[in-house]
């Protein structure tokens, strides 16, 4: 598993992917948080990081599928997947290796935004007037959320040999998972079931975490979603056996 992880991560670093992803993410977040007047924290007047945590997921909806789209699609097309699968590796080794490599890349992209926290901390009036637990919870939420997106991206990549199809499918399902349930719940059909449907979506649990209260139910929700989605890609990889 670790061998696959390090190989995948190295190939991110050796190609442009890593730098483009990190560069685009940090540039767009930097502009949104500090420069664009509509969303800028400087104009907003409150010392919080809401911009990062509310817009970050939407940037991830496009960036993470771009990271994961090649993972299986390319290997299937080149035939190297057959090579990997005839090595003494389990399907889980391959899936987890690739999943963790993508996740690690997102983590690296996210890491520099911690600077924002310290900047806003210092800019606050009085200094330090920032909801630290909320920020920590939001970071945990954003990480778990990107884990979900990475797993969705892997599944999309494992069902096709075309990277473009993988990208579009992944972006679509990330969007559905993130805010689709929330929007569906607002339909005037569900009455008392509306909350249940809302709870199926990622956004509900993400918001719950960003209040700064780390509820084990939310964490378990995220981890189970990741596990279930990765199991689907395990199923798809195993389908050659049918």
């Amino acid at each position: 598993m670790l061998q696959v992880l390090s190989k995948e991560f190295n190939s991110f670093l050796n190609s442009l992917i890593a730098y483009v992803v990190i560069g685009v993410f940090l540039t767009s977040m930097g502009l949104l948080v500090w420069v664009f007047p509509d969303t800028s924290v400087l104009d907003y007047g409150y010392a919080d990081m809401d911009t990062l945590f509310s817009l970050g997921p939407y940037v991830f909806i496009f960036l993470i599928p771009a990271v994961t789209m090649r993972s299986f699609a390319e290997e299937k097309k080149a035939g190297t997947l057959e090579l990997l699968m005839t090595k003494p590796l389990t399907d889980w080794d391959i899936i987890l290796g690739k999943f963790l490599a993508s996740f690690l890349l997102v983590l690296v992209a996210l890491l520099p935004t911690v600077v924002y926290y310290f900047s806003i901390y210092a800019l606050g009036n009085p200094v330090g007037n920032i909801d630290t637990p909320g920020v920590v919870g939001s970071y945990i939420g954003l990480l778990l959320l990107s884990g979900v997106f990475c797993s969705v991206g892997l599944v999309a990549s494992s069902i096709t040999t075309s990277q473009i199809v993988a990208f579009i499918l992944a972006a679509f399902f990330c969007f559905i998972l993130f805010s689709g349930f929330e929007s569906v719940a607002q339909l005037n059909l569900w009455s008392s079931q509306a909350l249940l449907i809302k709870q199926l979506g990622v956004l509900y649990h993400y918001e719950s975490l960003s209040r700064g209260l780390i509820d084990s139910r939310d964490v378990i929700y995220f981890l189970s979603v990741i596990f279930i989605i990765l199991s689907i890609s395990k199923l798809i990889l195993g389908s050659r056996q049918w």
Partner: protein, 311 residues
């Protein structure tokens, strides 16, 4: 270490790719696996390496079942898939290191082993290049190198020489021959000459059935039984005179002075032709027995069965 294929059947939906085949390779043997495209060669190999599961039957590597203990079998076998898939964006040594790690080799042992294998496969000058920069022949060497990195006892090569130019062909054949000492090797091909260059035993498969499993010499004998000799004289010779020779079945004039003589089964007509020339004071400048052409035997073996199965 032996490789046993036992009553192997593989179906893709309705289609039977491999139909109840069995064969066995004893330790240290090199065997050519021959058949036309789509005969089931690759399927058999993919099952043997644990990539595909068999519908029925089993493959045993050194006595271990690939169905029950795939991890163990994968550790014992080296596999070069068809079309030789490679990570083109990796450097040669980087790639071999990666594959080595997948087999659980690490540390100084890995460095040493990668060095050895680069030397063995003649990649010393290419090891710091990216794989995408290599020619097809060198890529094939890299493919062989990755199959050999863990010193497997059983080597499964799926069309290791397809698409190479004649020089590379010779080099890769030599390489396979060199590395196959004390390994059990099965390689697939649809070129008979390849088998002849590399080994004695050949298994011929056609539409999922084994149609021959024998030494190459006895398969060659199976042909039509007639032996053809090409004789070339200096100056013109009357065809009818040649027809009168003992054991000659038919004579076809290639040129005025060159003839293709087909003899009865089991008769070597060459001494007769030589005496014929000597008696008439003719200069015989060429006398060559045609290998009862490998292609025609291949053709005979692999078309009968198709007709048979269609009936």
């Amino acid at each position: 270490m032996s490789l046993q294929v036992r009553n192997l059947t593989k179906e893709y939906g309705q289609q039977k790719a491999v139909h109840n085949i069995s064969f066995e390779l004893s330790e240290g043997e090199i065997v050519g696996f021959l058949g036309p495209n789509g005969a089931g060669k690759s399927t058999t190999m993919k099952i043997s390496t644990g990539y595909l599961p068999p519908t029925e039957g089993d493959v045993l590597v050194g006595g271990h079942s690939v169905v029950e203990r795939p991890m163990h079998v994968k550790q014992l076998t080296g596999y070069l898939p068809e079309h030789n898939p490679l990570y083109l964006d990796l450097y040669v040594h980087e790639y071999l290191n990666f594959i080595g790690k997948l087999y659980g080799i690490g540390g100084t042992k890995l460095t040493q082993r990668v060095g050895e294998i680069i030397e063995l496969c003649g990649l010393a000058n290419e090891q710091n290049k990216k794989i995408e920069a290599l020619s097809k022949g060198y890529r094939q060497r890299v493919g062989l190198a990755q199959a050999l990195i863990h010193d497997p006892k059983v080597l499964i090569l799926d069309e290791p020489t397809s698409g190479l130019d004649p020089n590379q062909l010779v080099e890769i054949r030599k390489l396979i021959k060199d590395i196959s000492t004390n390994k059990t090797v099965i390689f697939s091909t649809h070129i008979m000459q390849e088998v002849q260059a590399l080994c004695d035993r050949v298994i011929v498969i056609n539409s999922g059935n084994i149609v021959a499993d024998d030494s190459l010499t006895s398969i060659l004998k199976r042909g039509t039984g007639n032996v053809t000799v090409v004789a070339e004289f200096e100056g013109a010779v009357n065809v009818d005179d040649l027809r009168l020779l003992k054991g000659v079945q038919s004579v076809v004039a290639v040129h005025a002075s060159s003839f293709r003589i087909t003899a009865d089964a089991g008769v070597d007509v060459r001494p007769e032709v030589f005496r014929f020339a000597a008696d008439r004071n003719l200069s015989l400048i060429g006398l060559k027995q045609e290998e009862n052409s490998l292609e025609s035997i291949f053709h005979a073996l692999t078309t009968q069965q198709v007709m048979h199965s269609e009936n």
